[in-house]
Amino acid sequence: MTSRSEALIELDGVRKSFGDTEVLKGISLNVGKGEAVCVIGPSGSGKSTILRTINGLLPVDEGFIRVGEHRVHELRSDREMRPLRRQVAMVFQQYNLFPHRTVLENVAMAPVQVLGHDPEEVRERAVRLLAKVHLDGKESRYPGELSGGQQQRVAIARALAMQPEVILFDEVTAALDPETVKGVLETIRELVVEGMTCVLVTHEMRFAREVSHRVCFTDHGRIVESAPPAELFDAPQDPRTREFLAQVL
Amino acid sequence: MSLRNALLASLSGVLLLGTLGAHADTLEDIKARGVLTVGIKNDYQPYGYLNDQGQNVGFEIELARYIAAELLGSPDKIELVPVVAANRIEFLNTGRIDLVMATLGVTPEREKVIDFTVPYVSAAGASILARKEAKFTQWEQLRGQNVCGIQGSFFNKTVTEQYGIRLVNFTALPEAYRGLKDNRCVAMAFDDMSLRKKLEEPGWEDYKIAVEPYEYLPMAGGVRKGDEAFLEAVNAAIVKAEGENKLIEWERDYDMPASEYIAQRAEAARSASE
């Protein structure tokens, strides 16, 4: 396990409620640089909420969150969040591409408009990244013309174009047809191998086992068990983990 | 909660409205501008109407031009703004015009919101136009009946309150006449002079003035309240015109029956100046 001081991401005692329902009941989690951490657990256990607190899309009620030198729990306004978000990219279940922009523009617009990078340089980067996610030739298509899996790979390229230190993956294969899932997972696997820090929320147990360095099992707003995949899947310690794995495997 | 919001909005609307307009000294203003703006009728023979050449002419127009000549030195330093009953007071009080000379009867209600000049004519008030076979001859006989009228006539309230007449008030005169012809009302109440003119037109042979006016009232010009210097100047001009027998001349020019009222005022004006 990564020690606190070396960790790139650090969550401690994070609590979050929506109205009367407490979704996170004290989450603590460290993610080291270059580490790939999978978060698994039954739906409604707060997995996606954890991701959204890390890049400040959801403010927390209580607790400590640090990403690099950013103390996320202390950031109040969107303006203060912006430097953080440039370091933390996110890929969504519903891809959330911009339907009014071509594939290439989707990838290249934010680095130019937000980071102020040179448009020519960003263009080259975007073309390279699209090739990397095996979408060369689709640059001038619109998102609506692509399959779900292709759109999701554009979304990954868009995240990479920001040159982030961390990428958060929020159930990125849940909305995809089975035959397109493979390409997306392959792309993510390549990123992990290259040493990108990743936090993934996923239902793909086999993928979690293969790709991640560590797996966290969440239930009812708590991290019940956290261990390397081999340990967690083969010898779960907590009865709840066992029960869950028995159901999904 | 929409209701609370609505009330809030209306309250703030009311608060936002300060007093707008409010001119201090009209006499100074018009002398600086070099033009007198007068609200007049353009559809009301003989007081103010359009002649065949499309020019504004009439008894009141002559008087207005006379006043302009007195105040500014030329009868042409005048801007004539056509007004109707429903907007003439509004035009005056919001500053669109400086003076109303548009068959304006002197009534206590109006006295509350504007100042009147000296009266220059005494005119008949409302009379009743009805079909020839109508039996009524008194206002009282029309109690509870539908009578066509016009929104903004000064007698509307009196007629409703005192005689219990149910007025069906149209916004435009032609429509009121049509309402009468369609028998939507048993009669039509309007200014006596206009109704008599209407009777002379073709298509109105089956109608008559059934009830005579219940009052005569003096007509005067109107100025904004508290505009002393301007009011005095206008009054002086009117009295001067009366003293010079101008009004009697115009009365003749525009085919009006010679009225005792105007003759008396001319006499009074002369004796006052002596």
């Binding site: 996110m90 617009m109 937000v114 868009r158 | -």
Partner: protein, 270 residues
């Protein structure tokens, strides 16, 4: 529902048929003595259309309605955009007053707002040494533009809110500021969905310009009412039909186009 492809065509055919029949009836009527009435309408047509018997310049009539409609729409678009964006503001201090104003104007009858403006605005207003003149026409334009602006604000709000929430999330994760998100992501998508609402509103506004008759503006209904005092009773129906047809001929195509666009944009949400 399975639609027989000829169903719509047959329907269209009947509608066109009815239209042609009406025209034919008018022509037959014109040919047989009824023409006296129609010739009166035709004689007055330049007056009703442009307010002057010569047809030029425009001093009133239906073209004045068109002018009023366009001017009011321009004002309403500007004011409504501001109001609509205020409705979406995150600050309560901005959002709530905007909401109150919008609701007030939407719940007030057009006619009453028009009247209120007539008496609320001064004829002459001197602000910082500049004198503004408010003619009855200007007042009518302002009076018509206010309820339109409120309705347009609501159109904008609806269109912006119809953009999927995921767009906000993903733009925010890319580090865009709120202003940038509006400009780069939300408004370009919302814009397409606003257009049908905007056009519908224009058609509504055009119809409402007839209310300006109460302010004494020489628009077509005013002229119609004055004209009728000079014409014989038998022509009454014909004149009314002519003016109703003017409005229909102008507004129906706009409404039709708006609906087409609406159906087209309905499907393109993500």
């Amino acid at each position: 529902m399975v639609i027989n492809p000829s169903y719509e065509q047959r329907k269209r055919l009947l509608l066109v048929g009815i239209l042609l029949t009406v025209i034919a009836l008018v022509l037959v009527d014109a040919a047989r003595g009824g023409s006296a009435e129609w010739s009166r309408v035709i004689a007055r047509l330049p007056l009703l259309l442009t307010g002057s018997a010569q047809g030029w310049p425009i001093t009133g009539g239906f073209l004045l309605n068109v002018v009023m409609g366009i001017a009011s729409m321009a004002i309403a678009t500007a004011v409504g955009t501001l109001l609509g964006l205020s409705l979406l503001a995150r600050r309560r201090l901005v959002r709530q007053p905007a909401f109150v104003v919008m609701n007030f104007l939407r719940n007030a009858p057009w006619l009453v707002v028009l009247f209120a403006m007539l008496y609320l605005l001064p004829y002459r207003l001197t602000l910082l040494g500049v004198t503004f003149e408010f003619s009855p026409l200007a007042k009518a334009i302002i009076g018509l533009s206010l309820p339109t602006a409120a309705n347009f604000a609501e159109v904008i709000r609806g269109a912006v809110q119809s953009v999927h929430a995921g767009q906000w999330e993903s733009a925010r994760s890319l580090g865009y500021s709120t202003a940038q998100i509006y400009r780069r992501v939300i408004l370009p998508q919302a814009f397409r969905r606003m257009i049908p609402g905007w056009m519908n509103l224009y058609a509504l506004l055009m119809i409402a310009t007839s209310l300006a008759t109460v302010t004494g503006v020489q628009e077509v209904v005013t002229l119609l009412r004055t004209t009728l005092s000079m014409e014989s009773e038998t022509t009454l129906v014909y004149f009314y039909l002519a003016v109703l047809a003017m409005f229909f001929a102008y507004c129906y195509p706009i409404a039709l186009l708006a609906r087409r666009l609406e159906n087209k944009t309905k499907g393109d949400s993500l």
